[in-house]
């Protein structure tokens, strides 16, 4: 991830590559308003190529996994296009093979995707000012689209709204395409896929490890893992999720009260003093 950050910081390199691509092929720059979308696309597409690779791999894995768990081939495709949140789609496969509990499903989806609330706070002003585009932008605000749109440094001649939108819909298409390839392809694949479900644990473990390696979120990461392990051991595999999440919110609220609040009070005092 350090590499990614430095890549974003060194966006001049990316700019050079993209501007070359944008200006060389044809003279569509004359009607600037009409070509704003195309211009932004030429800038957005190269940045989404790594996400394309990742989404195709994960999407194929998800499609294979879901069909392997007994779901009909079209259901993972529908879920990928409507839920559009990778980890929650894996969890939904488990929900669909468990007893019917729509309220539990809603609460679980809200808690599992709670990080989007933070993304929303970050993109609040940037997306709200995009007119009609803000609805597809918010609908498709997955980890990867957020990461690109929140960190990119755009030159003035590239339309921000179109750039955000191109990144968002491209990533959406990569994911749905990957899932479709996996779930449809699984009917023709005779490979022994026992153990493919581990891709889920591997995905979460790697993201978690990446957070720990960055060092910044060591404390909340360890609290989250510790609380979850404790609740899993005490309450068993079936009902530990919601109590674990509730306990986390309580712990972090207390931490905020005793530790975080002091810091913000100091910051506020500093702010009013100056």
């Amino acid at each position: 991830m350090k590499n990614d950050e430095s890549r974003n910081d060194e966006s001049r390199n990316v700019n050079n590559i993209s501007t070359e691509a944008a200006t060389s092929p044809d003279g569509s720059k004359k009607s600037h308003d009409k070509s704003a979308g195309r211009e932004a696309f030429r800038y957005a597409f190269p940045l989404t190529v790594p996400i394309c690779a990742g989404f195709l791999f994960l999407g194929i894995s998800y499609g294979l996994f879901a069909v392997g768990q007994g779901l009909p081939w079209y259901l993972p495709i529908i879920m990928s296009a409507t839920i559009f949140a990778g980890s929650m789609e894996f969890v939904t496969v488990a929900l669909l093979t468990a007893p019917f509990d729509p309220l539990g499903a809603f609460i679980l989806a809200f808690m599992v995707n709670g990080r989007h609330i933070f993304y929303g706070l970050t993109m609040l002003t940037r997306y709200t000012s995009q007119g009609w585009k803000k609805y597809p932008l918010i609908f498709g605000m997955c980890d990867e689209s957020f990461a690109l749109n929140a960190t990119v440094n755009l030159p003035d001649n590239v339309d921000r709204g179109w750039f955000y939108l191109h990144v968002t819909w491209l990533n959406f298409v990569y994911w749905v395409l990957g899932v479709a390839m996996g779930s449809i392809g699984s009917q023709f694949i005779t490979l022994n896929l026992k153990g493919i479900e581990f891709v889920l644990a591997a995905l979460f473990a790697v993201i978690f490890l990446d957070i720990l390696l960055k060092g910044k979120n060591l404390l909340p990461g360890c609290i989250g893992l510790g609380v979850s392990l404790l609740m899993r051991i005490v309450l068993g595999p079936d009902v530990f999720m919601l109590p674990a999440m509730a306990l986390m919110v309580v712990i972090f609220s207390l931490l905020y009260k005793f530790k975080g609040k002091k810091e913000t009070d100091l910051a506020d005092e500093g702010g009013t003093a100056s």
């Binding site: 791999f57 994960l58 894995s61 879920m79 409507t82 839920i83 980890s87 929650m88 929900l95 669909l96 019917f100 729509p102 499903a105 609460i107 679980l108 989806a109 809200f110 599992v112 995707n113 709670g114 990080r115 989007h116 609330i117 933070f118 993304y119 706070l121 002003t125 709200t128 918010i138 605000m141 022994n192 026992k194 153990g195 581990f198 644990a201 591997a202 995905l203 473990a205 790697v206 978690f208 490890l209 990446d210 957070i211 390696l213 979120n217 909340p220 990461g221 609290i223 989250g224 893992l225 510790g226 609380v227 979850s228 530990f240 999720m241 674990a244 999440m245 986390m248 972090f252 931490l255």
Partner: protein, 108 residues
């Protein structure tokens, strides 16, 4: 589960997911700065929830029933080593999954 129950379950997940994406834009449509505790929870919860998801995805592993979680442990150690070495999310996920599939198919 019937087809109707599946539809409702997926619908509930869609609603829950979209609520997380739209809520900030609805709640803070007018004010510029969200309350400090919301920002604080937004800082803390992503890492904590990822820890929870690790446990969730391995919740049915039993240490007392064969193979005692050994394939999971081996795959996770190799995954962690690869990730520490290369810091490439996709490579680490691919290696970890392939190692696990090999272990449960050929050895355990």
């Amino acid at each position: 589960m019937t087809a109707w129950e599946m539809t409702i379950t997926i619908g509930a997940v869609v609603l829950g997911t979209m609520a997380t994406r739209f809520i900030s834009f609805v709640v803070f449509a007018k004010s510029e700065k969200p309350p400090a505790i919301v920002t604080y929870l937004g800082d803390m919860l992503p890492a904590a929830v990822m820890g929870l998801l690790v446990v969730y995805s391995l919740k049915d592993v039993s240490l007392s029933v064969a193979p005692n979680g050994i394939p999971e442990a081996i795959a996770l150690v190799i995954l962690a080593a690869v990730h520490y070495w290369r810091r490439n999310l996709l490579l680490s996920i691919a290696v970890g999954t392939i190692v696990y599939m090999f272990l449960v198919q050929e050895i355990f």
